[in-house]
């Protein structure tokens, strides 16, 4: 990794653009998006379907190369690094939970969490203890040796959260983490997630279409047609947004 730049934020993007070529012409999936997230801040990226939030999340996760712009994570520009370095960044600096198929099905809950430490060469006695403690904090003390197929959707999401946090990443990303959960479990998962991000001082970004879940975030970024059109940073305003959605 050779490309470095200075930024006071854990994550900062500058004028990120992502275009695709299709039969009907050029599609601007992400259009000049600049945002900043500080350590210990939990941000929701919301917007209607096709607004570009998932594309933006993929770019932030170093899974997709932007057409132009900068993505600075701990001073490294994700847009400028090689494929091999992007894999390293995903392994060391980023934690990720997905909508579904989150866990490796043949590894137990504990083994799934420990896998991140194993990949980062940090699976020692302390690491193993931390993995157990984190799972216990997430209410999975008696499920550590269960395979994903033996756990509910909510439990699987909590294991995925533990896996996303165990290696102390700078950035934690969640793609629709509550999509397959009932309302009660969805609240529990997001509340736990938010609590850990604040406590461990990570920069957290959650993509969701469910505005009820923004109750636990510090800021809401609204995207539409690939652009970042509105930012809600006032807590009463955010709560109003969540309540409004809940009453609908």
């Amino acid at each position: 990794m050779t490309t470095t730049a200075t930024s006071s934020y854990a994550l900062e993007t500058k004028s990120v653009i992502k275009t695709y070529q299709s039969d009907s012409g050029t599609i601007q999936a992400v259009d000049d998006v600049s945002l900043q997230v500080t350590a210990g801040e939990f941000v929701a990226l919301v917007g209607p379907s096709g607004s570009g939030k998932t594309t933006m999340l993929s770019i932030l996760a170093a899974l997709l190369q932007p057409s132009s712009g900068q993505i600075l994570l701990d001073g490294q520009d994700l847009a400028q690094i090689s494929d091999v370095d992007r894999v390293t960044m995903r392994r060391e600096k980023i934690g990720f939970t997905f909508q579904a198929n989150n866990l490796v099905p043949y590894l137990s809950a504990l083994e799934n969490v420990e896998l991140m430490l194993r990949l980062n060469k940090r699976l020692d006695k302390t690491g193993r203890l931390r993995a157990r403690e984190l799972l216990a904090r997430l209410g999975l003390a008696d499920r550590m040796h269960n395979l994903p197929g033996q756990m509910s959707g909510g439990q699987q999401q909590r294991v995925a959260i533990a896996r996303a946090l165990i290696h102390n990443p700078s950035l934690v990303l969640a793609d629709e983490p509550t999509a397959s959960l009932d309302t009660e479990r969805a609240y529990q998962v997001v509340e736990t997630f938010a609590g850990l991000i604040h406590e461990q001082k990570r920069a957290g970004i959650m993509v969701t279409h469910d505005l009820r879940m923004v109750e636990f975030v510090d800021r809401v970024l609204l995207m539409r047609d690939g652009k970042l059109v509105q930012i809600y940073s006032d807590k009463p305003e955010i709560l109003e947004l969540a309540r409004g959605s809940r009453s609908q």
Binding site: T54, L63, L64
Partner: protein, 389 residues
């Protein structure tokens, strides 16, 4: 690199263990393919050995045939004048006549007579087998025989026993009785157990046409030549062909390849073995390809959280090799157990080299069959696999 193999091995073994029923079934399929390949190889070796055993163990590197006999032993006829001429050729240490015929060995009780190769050889000369038990033949006219171990095993005859053969001479069945003076190692000829008779006795007792019955002009089929120095084989062959009329020479390997049906039989079995291996490649390749297709999302997750491609590839290779090794080991064990149950009349020989070659080929079919799936796994895009694109 150590890290790559460590994580790859961990993932591969965990997946196999947690899905052991499925992987065991694949191993059993490989085991059955192994069993089939090893048996085809053993059958090929057994049939080939049964055909060539006597010739391949000869200590005479040159076989002299009547010219234009196409190296067919039964089609060649050489008189004693050629034997004398060959013995005079420079570089020839010894030469002995070999006559080949068939006969039936009469067994006690109601047992079916046993078909044998009746081989006429000159005592003390090239072609006479070394006995492992008993004595060598005494003279070329003696009423005594050496039997090979196969004849001894199947007939239960021993040294000093009498042996009776039946042959057809003219239109009559004739019976001749000999004393067994020695037993040699296994020396089958044309898939038949062998009985070695002094040459002039052989000429008297062999099957004959009506015209031959009253003739007394011993004719051998081929002459076996021992050399002063085996390295001079080519020059001695040239000298024999140059100095002796109406003969052609062959190495033992040429003579074996010319045995009736030998090449066709071996190539048929080799083709069968090759096709079985090919089917193995397709079966294993198909299984692992389906497995990779079923776990695209899972591999996508692994890549998304930072698992490098070498780990994904190494895990697949490790898994394929382990499953193949377990399958081949089980198959080889089955083959060994089954081989113990076959009677000596079934021509199956588990020769070390042939079996080892078959096992190496079987161990390679896994990785070869899995190549496409490994390539597919490495090319999985996490974005697509996770439905993010």
């Amino acid at each position: 690199m150590k890290q790559v193999f460590s994580i790859a091995g961990y993932l591969a073994i965990k997946e196999i263990w947690r899905n052991r029923g499925r992987f065991f079934l694949v191993s059993m399929v490989i085991a059955l393919i192994t069993l089939l390949v090893l048996f085809i190889a053993a059958l090929g070796e057994g049939l080939g050995n049964g055909n060539r055993e006597y010739i391949s163990k000869l200590d005479a590197p040159i076989m002299v045939f009547q010219s234009k006999s196409d190296f067919l032993i039964q089609a060649s006829r050489l008189g004693r004048d050629r034997l004398a001429a060959i013995r005079r050729v420079d570089g020839v240490k010894d030469a002995g006549m070999l006559g080949v015929a068939n006969a039936s060995l009469i067994l006690p009780g109601n047992q079916e007579p046993m078909k044998i190769a009746l081989l006429g050889i000159e005592p003390g000369h090239s072609g006479e087998p070394q006995v492992e038990q008993g004595n060598q033949l005494s003279t070329s006219l003696a009423q005594e025989v050496i039997i090979d171990r196969n004849t001894a095993l199947r007939s239960k005859l021993a040294v000093n026993d009498n042996l009776t053969i039946r042959v057809t001479q003219g239109t009559r069945d004739e019976f001749f009785t000999f004393k067994i003076v020695g037993i040699s190692e296994g020396l089958q000829f044309a898939l038949q157990p062998s009985v070695f008779v002094p040459f002039f006795t052989w000429d008297r007792v062999r099957s004959k046409s009506e015209a031959e019955v009253n003739l007394s002009n011993p004719v051998a089929n081929v002459i076996l030549v021992k050399l002063d120095n085996d390295a001079d084989i080519n020059s001695v062959r040239q000298r024999i062909e140059g100095q002796v009329n109406n003969v052609e020479t062959a190495t033992l390997n040429q003579a074996i390849q010319a045995l009736p049906g030998y090449s066709a039989q071996q190539s048929t079995l080799n083709t069968q073995g090759g096709f079985t291996l090919f089917i193995g490649v397709l079966v294993i390749g198909g299984f692992f390809q389906i497995q990779i297709l079923q776990k695209v999302a899972q591999i996508g997750v692994l890549k998304a959280i930072g698992t490098a491609n070498p780990i994904v590839a190494a895990a697949s290779i490790f898994q394929i090799m382990l499953i193949t090794m377990v399958g081949v080991a089980i198959g080889a064990l089955f083959a060994f157990i089954f081989s113990l149950t076959f009677p000596p009349t079934v021509p199956i020989v588990f020769n070390g080299t042939t079996s080892l070659l078959a096992v190496v080929a079987l161990l390679l079919i896994g990785p070869i069959g899995g190549l496409a799936s490994i390539r597919y796994a490495v090319r999985i895009e996490p974005l697509k696999a996770l439905g993010l694109s």
